[in-house]
Every structure is written in structure tokens, then in C-alpha cells.
Symmetry: C2
Subunit: 153 residues, 2 copies
């Protein structure tokens, strides 16, 4: 059971998208402003770093960086978070198609198609549009200013 | 391979959401303005009606209505459209949770997790947010005024 998405971000090269996926500052610009690495670093995150994404007061996710291939691919494994997310993986594959950086997103390894998976699928779409806005305009919509899609936020 | 989504639409009853999913005028208010039934009817669509959704100049989808259970469930089968969509099904399950009508969406039966499926997953999320906006504010963002998510629109 996988959540899959595709967006295209206007721009001549994939570097700005890769930076938004692999720096503390970039990630804080589209997913949640409360983003840090476990070792307290700033700038580029590295393979084996653990990134702590928090959405107060709800909780958050600890992501171990498993892959970071410049301007091509980023991979995370969920180390901590909601029970349904434990052990699942998130990948971002990038490529340049003319004027667009294409992002293929996958959140794989869900054990059951629970209602929370439906929610996360829609929510990932809205965060990917936040990533697109960040790179194209300089301003994303990270939590707590994210798009509220339901009573589950 | 299924596309799954969940949104919550503010409102005291599911009737307005059900109407937006089962009338020509409602559907034209959030998916595409170029919506009609094959028999040329207006108002409520019925089981066995075929709804023709068009997105000029790209093409569109013909959906046979397979189920329409008032304020609970709507089902479609894709009769015509892109090859990847043929024979797939779309369902909307509704329920009321306090102040929200919860919509569980599923587009089931994809044969392969092709790049077009990634695209359609993100695009469905943006159309479901258009449905939410239509019911909550009276104005959705149906094609051709839909949110452009990539070079594939």
C-alpha cells in the first residue's frame, strides 16, 4: 500500500528543489517550521542524520535519512511517529523536464489502507504544493500555516 | 493499486456534499465546468447514467454511475478515457462527524503504478479541495480554473 504523488516545479534546474528537501531551512519552509536534526545541525542534512519534524501539539515524525543523491533522489525511513508510519519509507525522485523539475513522491510500506492513510495521502499532496510554492515564489505553507483539509487538520 | 484520499467539509449535514457529487451542476462546480450526462439531463444523475467530463483540449472521462445511495455513497466506473483509467472505479463514501462531512475517496483498479497514476493522485487531492471549497464557500476551482500542479496541468 503506497501513497504516490507527482508535481512539477517551474525552474531551470533541480538544485533548488533538492536543497528544499535536504536542508533544515528548506524543509522548514514547506513541511513544518519546527524541523531540526537530532544532532542540532543546520544546513545540509546527511545520510544517517535523523530529522525531527514536529507539529505541536499533535506530535511528529523522526526520519532517518537513508539516501541523498544530489539533485536526483532523497530517501527517508520513519524511525518514530504514529504507529501506522513506523518502518514506512518516503522517497523523492527528481528529474528535469524542460522548464520543470518533476518530483515523484512515494510513501511506501503502509500495512493497511486505514482512514489515516487516506488522510495522509491528501495531506502529502497539499504539502507538495507547499514545496512547489516555496521554490517558485519563496514562500511555502509549512505547519502551523498549512492548508487544513479536515477535522484532522 | 489504489489512490486514496480523505477530506472533511465543514457543514451540519452531508446533503450539500452528496448534491455536489450527484448533480450535473454540482459536479461542474468542482471538477470541470464541461460536465453533462449522455442523455442530456440536468439535475440529479441516476444509476446507469453516463456522465461525460471534458477537459478541452486534452480529452476527458466517461463515468457510468454504478451506485448512488443518498448521503452515503457514490460509485462510478470508467467507461471511456485514458487507457490507464479504463475499467477503474471511483467511489466517494460520506459520513457526518460532528461539524464535518467526511469524504473517503478511492480510485481503485490501477494496473500499474505508472507516473500518470502519481499525477492523478495529486490532482484528485486538489479537486477534492475544490469540492470542499465549493460546499463551504459556494465557489470551487473546476477546470479550466483548476490548480495547475505540473507540466501535465
Amino acid at each position: 500500500m503506497d501513497i504516490l504523488h507527482r508535481i512539477g516545479i517551474l525552474g531551470p534546474t533541480p538544485e533548488p528543489v533538492y536543497d528544499a528537501l535536504t536542508t533544515v531551512e528548506g524543509l522548514a519552509g514547506w513541511w513544518t517550521v519546527d524541523t531540526r536534526t537530532r544532532r542540532g545541525s543546520t544546513g545540509r542534512v546527511e545520510v544517517d542524520d535523523v530529522i525531527e519534524f514536529r507539529f505541536p501539539p499533535i506530535g511528529g515524525f523522526d526520519m532517518a535519512v537513508t539516501e541523498s543523491t544530489p539533485v536526483q533522489r532523497v530517501g527517508w525511513r520513519v524511525n518514530d511517529g504514529p504507529q501506522e508510519w513506523l518502518g514506512t519509507t518516503v522517497t523523492f525522485d527528481l528529474r528535469q523536464d524542460d522548464d520543470y523539475t518533476i518530483v515523484l513522491f512515494a510513501h511506501r510500506g503502509w500495512r493497511q489502507p486505514v482512514e489515516f492513510m487516506h488522510h495522509c495521502s491528501t495531506k502529502w499532496a497539499s504539502y507538495l504544493l507547499s514545496l512547489k510554492a516555496l521554490v517558485e515564489t519563496g514562500a511555502g505553507a509549512p505547519a502551523p500555516a498549512d492548508v487544513k483539509i479536515s477535522n484532522w487538520h
